[in-house]
């Protein structure tokens, strides 16, 4: 059994390796549902046709699957609504030198 906060902490271990910012602080996670051992995520990437698509989405799936309290992971990538910089968290903005 896991809760949302635990899942978010796990997701913070997955980085966009080019930007050096994790997927949570980048604002890539649109929806997160946790039911018992089932985790469902609706997420996006900073741009459609991202060269790191497989690595980032696979990283999200892998980091959750290795947690003993999680039995089932469903990750769905969506392009609507498009990601915008307004979704960055304050920590994400600071890491990017956002101004």
């Amino acid at each position: 059994m896991v809760d949302k906060d635990t899942v978010l902490e796990l997701l913070k271990q997955v980085y966009d390796p080019e930007l050096g910012v994790n997927v949570v602080d980048l604002g890539l996670i649109y929806e997160l549902d946790v039911e018992g051992g089932r985790v469902r995520i609706r997420m996006t990437l900073t741009t459609p046709g991202c060269p790191l698509h497989e690595a980032i989405v696979g990283g999200v799936r892998r980091v959750l699957e290795r947690h003993p309290g999680i039995e089932d992971v469903d990750v769905r990538v969506v392009w609507e609504p498009r990601w915008t910089p307004e979704r960055l968290t304050p920590a994400g903005r600071e890491a990017l030198g956002f101004f």
């Binding site: 390796p17 741009t47 690595a55 980032i56 696979g58 980091v63 290795r66």
Partner: protein, 418 residues
């Protein structure tokens, strides 16, 4: 969907780096002699051989690898039409350009003709594979359309080159050879490299700046002026048109390059990442420099056409365009493309499972910046040496250019060991 990392681009990038290193070592080996002769008349066996080693063995090889890497990505992770065909194409094209460079060096007309046909066959296979991938995806954007236009012009440049190669062997066309040469150079330089660099930058430049919401209207104007420039220039060369036809072609191409530089500035204004990396910054400096030179040439060539069309000026302009903008942009982007490719291949499947490095940890941006600065300083000194006909400046410039280029190729190539 792409389920694994293709190794195909590695072969092109690695072979391109080897060709680049071979060119630089060759330059260091007989520095003053070949440059002095090249500045007087670039049409000599050794000059042709070096030009094809650099333009086909390095720039086109790297560009093909980048296309194989980026087209599936831009098409949102669709597979190539045929990866196996990509390997066949790699073998055919590599044998073709290497034999062609050797044939020119040996001044052997039969070798030149034979390997020109083989190199062209490699280009045709490449065009078929990329064309089929793009048509099957049917997702046309300024990036994919620009890539298709680039490959189309590569085929035409290759066809003109192959016809010239056959003419070396069989002497079919007499003085038409020179007109074909003009079209070959213009199709390759402005068409293939012009469309490829501009269209790929429309994707990569905003991506590395994390730019969002920037206007894209200028992208079509860039492509339109470039197409107008290429297709005014090609018949001008083929039909030996009056100078004003060539001037119109130059003006259109210069307009495209100026608008391209303006568009890059638009993208920078909408950035959300403070530092895109030294390579990306340099690619913009080069675009601005290239646009400035092109814009200067338009009035200069109208007032002093004989000076602009002289052999010496043609060498300076050709060197600045091909080595400066095309080669420099490729070098600058390599500092990003190679870490991207390597990270995805080595660490992509480990992300989320263990701690993996960021790309910034694979390559030191300050070293990239220092090396690129030294390369372009060498290029500037060499161009000045050509312009002033100073063998000393030529030797100093090319010595610096070749030595630092070797260091840079080694440094960027060392990412493959991390």
């Amino acid at each position: 969907m792409v389920s694994r990392v293709s190794r195909l681009p590695f072969w092109f990038l690695a072979t391109g780096l080897v060709s680049f290193a071979a060119f630089q070592l060759w330059s260091l080996a007989d520095l003053a002699s070949w440059l002095a002769a090249f500045a007087e008349d670039p049409r000599m066996p050794s000059g042709w051989s070096r030009a094809h080693l650099l333009v086909l063995g390095w720039a086109t090889m790297i560009a093909m690898g980048a296309v194989y890497q980026l087209v599936p990505v831009v098409l949102q992770n669709r597979n190539l039409f045929s990866e196996r065909l990509g390997y066949v194409q790699y073998a055919v094209f590599t044998a073709g350009f290497a034999g062609l460079a050797a044939g020119f060096l040996a001044a052997d007309a039969i070798l030149i003709g034979g390997f020109a046909v083989l190199a062209f066959a490699g280009i045709l296979l490449f065009a078929f594979n990329i064309g089929a991938t793009l048509i099957r995806a049917n997702a046309w954007t300024n990036v994919t359309a620009g890539c298709a236009a680039a490959v189309f012009h590569l085929v035409l440049a290759g066809a003109a080159g192959m016809l010239m190669g056959l003419n070396f062997a069989f002497e079919w066309w007499g003085t038409f050879h020179d007109r074909l040469l003009g079209a070959h150079l213009w199709l390759g330089a402005a068409g293939w490299f012009g469309f490829l660099i501009t269209s790929f930058s429309f994707k990569l430049f905003p991506m590395f700046h994390l730019s969002h919401g920037h206007p894209e209207a200028l992208q079509r104007w860039v492509a339109g002026f470039l197409a107008a420039g290429v297709w005014t220039g090609v018949p001008s060369f083929l039909f030996n048109a009056p100078a004003w036809c060539h001037w119109i072609a130059l003006t259109c191409a210069a307009s495209a390059f100026v608008l391209y530089a303006v568009h890059l500035s638009q993208i920078v204004r909408f950035r959300h990442k403070q530092t895109p990396g030294a390579g990306i910054r340099w690619s913009r400096h080069l675009a601005i420099g290239q646009a400035s030179v092109a814009a200067l040439l338009v009035p200069l060539s109208a007032v002093f056409p004989d000076i602009v069309l002289s052999t010496r000026m043609a060498v300076v302009i050709g060197w600045l365009y091909l080595w400066g903008w095309v080669g420099g942009t490729i070098l600058a982007y390599l500092s990003k493309i190679i870490p991207f490719l390597w990270w995805t291949s080595k660490y992509g499947s480990r992300a989320g499972r263990e701690k993996v490095p960021t790309m910034a940890e694979l390559i030191d941006d300050r070293k990239v910046n220092a090396l690129l600065t030294a390369i372009f300083a060498g290029l500037f000194v060499l161009a000045a040496g050509f312009g002033w006909n100073s063998p000393l400046l030529q030797s100093l410039g090319d010595g610096l250019l070749a030595a630092v280029s070797l260091l840079y190729a080694g440094y960027v190539g060392a990412v493959f060991a991390k």
